[in-house]
Structure formats: C-alpha cells, structure tokens
C-alpha cells in the first residue's frame, strides 16, 4: 500500500479550464508510482468565487461535494478531507458532520485563521470526538504576513496540538516552501503532530532532518502539487530506511492516525 496523505483535486467551478486533465493526471501518475489511496482536499472554488485560503461556505460545500463525488467514482482510490473555514464556526461544524458522515476521513484546515486562534477549538473538539486527523496548512517559518492567507507556522500548530493532545495533527508539506528546519525544531517533542513529506522541495538533508526530529513513526508520505517530488522522496527513503521502516512511511503510519476502516488493509 502507498497512501498519499496530501492530494488535491479540482472541479468545474474553479479557475482551471484544465481541471479534468489535472485530476486525470494525478490518478494516472498515481498508478505509475503505486499510490493506492489519494487522501485529498478541495479548497472551495480555488479562488474563482472566494479566495483559496478564505473560501466561502457556499464554495466549501461545492468543493466538498465534488470531492465526495470523486470518492464515489473511485471508491478504491480516493479518500477525502472535509475542508472548512473556521470563521464560519456553525457552518464548519455542520460541514464536518455532513462530510464525515458521507465517508470522508479527515479535516483540512488551510489558512483562514491562525492555528493559535480559539476559533479552531470547536473544530479540533469534533476531530477528537470523531477520531479523525486534522491536516493543517503550514508555512514553514512565517516571518511576515503573506497576502491571500492567514498562514500558520510549525510553532503555532504545535501550540494548537498542545491544547488538543488527543487530536492527531498533520503538519502539511514540509517541502512546500519556507524554512523546514524551523518547523522540525518546533515539533520535535510534540507526539501528536505528524510530518507530511509533500511539497515541491527536495532539499538534500531534509528527509534526514525529518527522521531525526520526528522519528520514522511520525512521517507520512504525500505529494501535494508535485508528484514527481513525492516519488523522488520515496526512492531516497528506500536507501535511508529498512524495508519495515519504509512501510511505516508509505502507509502504516497513515493507517494508524486515520479512522479504522479508512483503508482496506489497516
């Protein structure tokens, strides 16, 4: 098994005219790489009618519905995170209940509100009750505010994880830009934060540093927007790890933190 914990799909109400081709490309590349499960999210309308990182409730519903449809279309391959905007607390909680009830397996928080904000607490409490992980978008060492998002960094996610010790958090795309050493230093002793290895960054030394900071049992394989970099990291890890350790990163760690039954062999 090979579980991609950080995938995205598109739909017809996004700025992407090529959304079908991109979805098809992900699935085709996944077949070549050996991905058995794409655990994906859709961030609303991807900027068409509300900002990518501040999606409106209406766009969130449409995106989540599109992902549920993909999950039904590819029941063997696609799993979903329900994406919510914590600024709309009532809507977020209702959307989580609706989408988890329809078969999604996790919650996606992007950058609508800082991880240290109390508005995230009811969402994390729902994650605890439902036993699902929270994949949190992270800017690795945010030194300033970036336009278009209220991004959190690793230290802020760790603060959230400390407030919710019974919730499993996934620090998104350690290779997704920014100072990953800052994030790794922050999460070292926080057992309920796992590291998603996705992102376009393939820096020499990054995977060794992830292993050193989090240990092999807190690493999750993923791709995000670049599947070639994900495959490269997998190939490199095959030289760093024993076969048994590699299985942890490929799928066993994911199977442990997602709800039982989310994947067929867990």
């Amino acid at each position: 098994m090979l579980i991609d914990v950080h995938a995205h799909f598109y739909h017809d109400r996004t700025p992407r005219a090529d959304w079908r081709e991109r979805n098809a490309s992900r699935l085709a590349a996944g077949e070549r790489i050996g991905v058995t499960h794409h655990v994906a999210s859709i961030l609303g309308s991807w900027g068409l009618r509300s900002p990518i990182y501040f999606p409106s409730p209406r766009d969130l519903e449409y995106g989540n519905d599109a992902l549920l449809a993909l999950q039904r279309q590819h029941p063997d391959r696609v799993r979903g995170y329900v994406t919510v905007n914590p600024n709309y607390t009532t809507h977020a909680c209702a959307e989580i209940a609706r989408c988890l009830g329809a078969g999604m397996v996790g919650i996606k928080l992007a950058a609508s509100r800082r991880a240290t904000d109390r508005l995230l607490d009811p969402i994390c409490e729902l994650a605890r009750q439902r036993g699902v992980p929270v994949l949190h978008h992270v800017w690795q060492h945010r030194r300033r505010d970036w336009p278009g998002q209220e991004a959190s960094d690793g230290a802020e996610l760790v603060a959230l994880a400390a407030r919710h010790p019974d919730v499993r958090f996934i620090l998104a795309h350690i290779g997704g830009g920014g100072d990953w050493q800052h994030s790794l230093a922050a999460l070292r002793t926080t057992a309920n934060v796992c590291v998603d290895l996705s992102g376009s960054g393939v820096d020499g030394g990054m995977l060794e540093a992830c292993l050193e900071a989090a240990g092999v049992e807190r690493l999750l394989w993923g791709t995000d927007l670049t599947m070639d970099t994900g495959w490269a990291k997998l190939r490199y890890l095959a030289h760093l790890l024993t076969p048994a350790q590699l299985e942890l990163v490929k799928w066993k760690n994911a199977a442990r933190i997602f709800p039982r039954g989310a994947f067929p062999a867990d």
Partner: protein
C-alpha cells in the same frame, strides 16, 4: 547514458547538506545511475574571488572519471579571460557565472563580455536562476534570482553564445523561449531539475511546446536529491529516443560540440 549537467561539490554556507564531498557525490551518482556529472565548486560561488575555487575543482575531478569540471568565471575581476582559456584546456564542458552572487548586473557589460568570450571559445555559459526556493532562503542570503530578461538580453548580445540555464521553472522558460527568435532560442538549453511533473505536467507541456531538444538532465545535487530528476522522466511517456535526448544526447551533441 545519463549526464547530470548540474551538480556541486563542497559545503553550502546556509545550511548543513549531506553528501557534498567528492566520494559521497560519486556514491550518489551510482545510486541513481548517472554516468557523468558536470560539477561546480559550491563554496566559491559565495567568495569574492570565485575563480580561486577552480584549482581545487580541477584537481578533484582529475581523480574521478565520472566528473567534469564547470569552473567559475567572474568577468568583473582581472584574469577572467585567462580563466576561460584554462577551462578549455581542462576540457570543461561549460563555465559558470552567477552574477547576482558576484554583485554584477546579470545583463551588464561584464557579463555580456563573458558571454561573447564564451561564444568565441565555443564554451557554453551556465547560469543558475536560483539555488534554493526563495521562500526558504537564509535571511542573509539576499542575492537576487537571475531574471528572464537577462537571459533574453544575453542570448541577443552575441550570435555565438550558448547558454545553459539551471534551476528554472516553466514560466521562465516560456518567457525566454517565446521571447526569442528561433535562432536565439536554439542556443539555450534548460536543465529539468526545477520543472514540475504531474499533475501540473509542466515538463510534459514544455517538451511539446518548446521541444525536447532544448532540455538536459540536471539534478542540482547535493542541494537537491537527484532522484527527483529521474522520477520526473519516469513519469513521462517520452519514448527511448526522446528520453535519451534529455538524459545525455542534448548535452553531448548540442552543448559539447
């Protein structure tokens, strides 16, 4: 046959990078089946006198058959023309210049002079757009990225110059390629290390729109893991001949003529 046109030896000043010693680089080449690597001396890229790293580079590659030297040339310093001649004597497949790290205007008179001299010497001029993702650079690592406008200016500045541009993304390539005449564009090669694969499929698109003959296999190792360049080729349906063009033949027949 697989030729990595974009590799480095020596320490990086802004973070700890494993595998920077010559024997470790050779191990990495074996790991990913690379037969030949064109290597630059990484520390001297940041020196005031980058050309002082070339002696070590020549000495090191002379002991390892898989390595070819890509010496640095700083066209703002006295002696650069002799350094260029020395590169040819050592069989260098290219020379490199990193103007923003040297504090030079990337399209200024010094770099244009170097471009013309490289053209006359029939040596490709290698330039990196960046070494690291701009979002993660060290706070004191403030040299600007190589702008696309500079590449357009340089390729127009001399009819014989050939450029090898590394660490470059799709938008940059398209801006320069379609902002050049076909004759100009045919004298530029792009390494693939920074070009995205699926699901965005930037490399697949570029191979069709710009042409397979314009791309060469490069990794940026050890700053980047070399498995990435191989993986993105493995995700393309290129056919053996077109894959070989990127992996070795464009470097052998286009750049090293």
């Amino acid at each position: 046959m697989r030729i990595d046109v974009n590799a480095f030896l020596g320490a990086y000043p802004y973070r700890r990078v494993p595998g920077t010693a010559p024997d470790r680089l050779v191990e990495a080449l074996a790991r990913v089946d690379i037969d030949e690597a064109w290597v630059s001396h990484l520390p001297s890229l940041f020196w005031r006198q980058p050309m002082e790293g070339n002696a070590w580079l020549y000495d090191t590659v002379a002991r390892e058959r898989r390595l070819r030297p890509v010496p640095a040339v700083h066209p703002g310093l006295a002696g650069w023309a002799a350094t260029l001649a020395e590169a040819a004597d050592h069989g260098a497949p290219a020379v490199r210049c990193d103007p923003s790290y040297y504090g030079l205007d990337p399209a200024g008179p010094e770099v244009r002079g170097l471009a013309a001299a490289c053209g006359a010497a029939r040596l490709p001029l290698m330039m990196a757009v960046r070494l690291e993702d701009g979002r993660q650079r060290h706070p004191n690592d403030r040299a600007g990225e190589l702008p696309a406008s500079a590449v357009r200016a340089l390729i127009r500045s001399d009819a014989a110059v050939r450029l090898l541009i590394t660490h470059v993304d799709r938008a940059f390539i398209e801006e320069v390629h379609f902002g050049s005449t076909p004759e100009e564009a045919a004298r530029i090669w792009w390494d693939i290390c920074w070009i995205w694969g699926p699901p965005e499929d930037h490399l697949e698109t570029l191979v069709e729109t710009v042409g397979v003959e314009r791309f060469v296999f490069g990794t940026g190792q050890p700053l980047r893991i070399p498995e990435n360049a191989v993986a993105k080729l493995d995700l393309l349906d290129l056919g053996a001949a077109r894959r070989a063009a990127i992996e070795s033949e464009n470097a052998r027949t286009g750049l090293r003529r």
